[in-house]
C-alpha cells in the first residue's frame, strides 16, 4: 500500500502482526506478504517496543487479544491513551468475540473486530480499505497544514503592509505642518508607554491586551490626518492665530473623522474606530473646555486622552518655529502645572512615573 500522488514521498510501511501463536501469525503474514512489509510480535509488550521505535513506519496493527505478558486489550488501551489509534488503524483479530471484548475494543479505538477463523481474502480487503482511508486523511491533513502556514504568512505580510501604509500617509500629512516621520513614531511610542503604565497603576480600571495596545498605538499616528484639509497659511502661521483662524484650525478634528469615514469597511475595523475616536477627541480637555464636543473627564475615552497628552508632551520637547525644545522635566512640570491643557490626574501620575523611570529620556 504505497501511495504517492501529491509528490509526497511515503516510506514503505509495515503491517504489524501481534499474536502469540505461530500458526496464526503465519496465516496473517501470508495474507499480506505480497503487498507489504511484515513485522511480528508475540505479545503486547514486544509489539509496543516495535511501535514505539517507529510509529510512522506502521500502516496497520493486527492484534490478537489473548496473549501472555500484555494482552491485546491492554496494548490497545496504551495506544489509545497515546493517541496512536488515531494515526495507526488497529484491528482486533480474535477467536473470542464476546460482546464485552467487542465493545471494549471499539471503545479503545479499534477500527474493526475480525473473528477467527480468518478468511484471508476478506481480512485483506477490510484492512486495505481502512489503511487507504488513513493514508488519505494524513495526506489531507498535511495539505491543510501547509495551506494554513501559507495563510498565516500572508496575513503577516498584509498586516505589515498595512502598518507601513498608515505610517507613510500619516507622515506625509504631518509633513505639511513641519512635522516629521520621527514625530509620528514618537507619538506611537508614547501612546504605548502610557497605556502600559496605566495598566500598572490602575489594573482594576485599565486592561488592554497586547493586540489592543498595538492597535491603539497604530491608530494614534493618524490623529492629525484632518490637517490635510487646513489651508497652508493657517497651518503654518508662525504667529498666534486669530479667533477665526483658530476656528478653522479646530476643524481638523472633524475633517479627520470625515476622511476616515471614507475608508471602505471602516465600520467593521476596530483600528479605524480607534483612529476615528482619537482624531475627533484628541483636543478635548479634562475640565470640559476642549473641542469639538466639550467632553468632560472620563467622557473622553482614555486612549484619546493619552494621545492628547502625548501630542502636547511631544510638542513641548521638540523645537518649533515659535519656541525651542524644552527639557523633559520642564515639559512635565508645565503640563502638571496646568499650563498646557488640562489632563486626567491618573495620566499625570503616569507622566511623572515614566520620567522618573527613563530619567527623562523618552
Amino acid at each position: 500500500m504505497n501511495l504517492q500522488e501529491d509528490g509526497q514521498t511515503e516510506e514503505k510501511t509495515a503491517i504489524l502482526i501481534v499474536d502469540d501463536n505461530e500458526i496464526n501469525r503465519m496465516i496473517l503474514s501470508e495474507t499480506f506478504r505480497d503487498q507489504d512489509k511484515i513485522l511480528e510480535a508475540e505479545n503486547g509488550k514486544e509489539a509496543l517496543d516495535l511501535i514505539r521505535r517507529e510509529p510512522g513506519g506502521i500502516s496497520a496493527i493486527l492484534l490478537d487479544i489473548v496473549m501472555p505478558e500484555m494482552d491485546g486489550l491492554e496494548l490497545l488501551e496504551i495506544l489509545y491513551k497515546d493517541g496512536l489509534t488515531e494515526s495507526i488503524p488497529v484491528f482486533l483479530i480474535t477467536a473470542d468475540s464476546s460482546e464485552q471484548n467487542t465493545q471494549r475494543g471499539y471503545q479503545l479505538g479499534a477500527m474493526d473486530i475480525i473473528e477467527k477463523p480468518i478468511v484471508p481474502y476478506f481480512v485483506k480487503k477490510r484492512v486495505g480499505s481502512v489503511v487507504e482511508l488513513f493514508h488519505a486523511r494524513k495526506r489531507l491533513s498535511n495539505t491543510v497544514h501547509k495551506q494554513h502556514q501559507r495563510l498565516l504568512a500572508q496575513e503577516m505580510e498584509i498586516y505589515e503592509l498595512n502598518n507601513a501604509i498608515i505610517e507613510t500617509l500619516s507622515t506625509a500629512i504631518e509633513f505639511r505642518s513641519g512635522e516629521s516621520g520621527a514625530h509620528v513614531k514618537r507619538i506611537r511610542e508614547l501612546t504605548g508607554l502610557f497605556l502600559r503604565r496605566l495598566m500598572e497603576i490602575r489594573p482594576e480600571k485599565y486592561q488592554f491586551s497586547e493586540d489592543e495596545i498595538e492597535m491603539i498605538s497604530l491608530a494614534s499616528i493618524m490623529h492629525d490626518v484632518g490637517k490635510i484639509a487646513i489651508p497652508d497659511h493657517i497651518l503654518n502661521k508662525p504667529g498666534k492665530l486669530t479667533k477665526e483662524e483658530f476656528e478653522v484650525m479646530k476643524q481638523h478634528t472633524l475633517k479627520g473623522c470625515d476622511l476616515l469615514c471614507q475608508i471602505p469597511k471602516y465600520h467593521q475595523n476596530p483600528l479605524y474606530q480607534y483612529a476615528y475616536d482619537i482624531c475627533r477627541h484628541h483636543h478635548e480637555r479634562w475640565d470640559g473646555k476642549g473641542y469639538p464636543d466639550a467632553l468632560k473627564g472620563d467622557e473622553t475615552t482614555i486612549w484619546s486622552q493619552v494621545v492628547a497628552l502625548a501630542d502636547v508632551y511631544d510638542a513641548l520637547t521638540n523645537e518649533r518655529v515659535y519656541k525651542p525644545a524644552y527639557s523633559a522635566e520642564k515639559a512635565a512640570s508645565m503640563i502638571v502645572g496646568g499650563e498646557c491643557g488640562c489632563f486626567n490626574p491618573e495620566l499625570l501620575e503616569c507622566l511623572t512615573f515614566i520620567l522618573k523611570e527613563t530619567g527623562g529620556s523618552i
Binding site: 505461530e22 496465516i27 489473548v66 501472555p68
Partner: protein
C-alpha cells in the same frame, strides 16, 4: 496431500478451510505441518495436570483459534467448551472435556502424520 482423505480421517471438513485460504494448497499444507510442531495442546495438558485454571482457559482459547483457522472444527468446538466451563465456573466438567479433547487432538495429529 489429499485434503479429501485428510478430511475423512480427521472427521473435519477441511475443504472449507482450504476455500478460506483461497485454495492455496501449498500454504495449507505448510500450516497443517506447522500444527504438528505447535505446543499449545501440550501446554494445555500441563495446565490441566497442574490444575491451573487461568492457564487452562488461555491455552484452550488459543487452541480454539488455531484449530478454527486450520478447519479442525471438532477440536475447535471442544476447546471452546473447555473455555466456557472454566469461565462459567463448571470446573469439574473440564476433566471429561479434556479427555474428549485429547482424543480429537490425537486423531488429527495421527491423520496428518500419515498423510505426510
Amino acid at each position: 496431500m489429499n485434503v479429501e482423505q485428510l478430511s475423512q480421517r480427521t472427521g473435519c471438513d477441511l475443504q472449507a478451510a482450504l476455500r478460506r485460504l483461497g485454495g492455496m494448497e501449498t500454504l495449507y499444507e505448510r500450516l497443517i505441518n506447522k500444527f504438528l510442531d505447535d505446543r499449545t495442546f501440550e501446554e494445555l495438558k500441563s495446565a490441566m495436570e497442574a490444575g491451573d485454571f487461568p492457564m487452562i482457559e488461555t491455552k484452550a482459547h488459543t487452541l480454539k483459534g488455531i484449530s478454527a483457522n486450520l478447519g479442525f472444527e471438532t477440536l475447535s468446538q471442544k476447546s471452546d467448551e473447555i473455555v466456557k466451563a472454566v469461565r462459567e465456573d463448571h470446573k469439574e466438567q473440564t476433566e471429561e472435556l479434556f479427555e474428549e479433547c485429547e482424543r480429537l487432538y490425537e486423531r488429527i495429529v495421527t491423520a496428518i502424520q500419515e498423510a505426510v
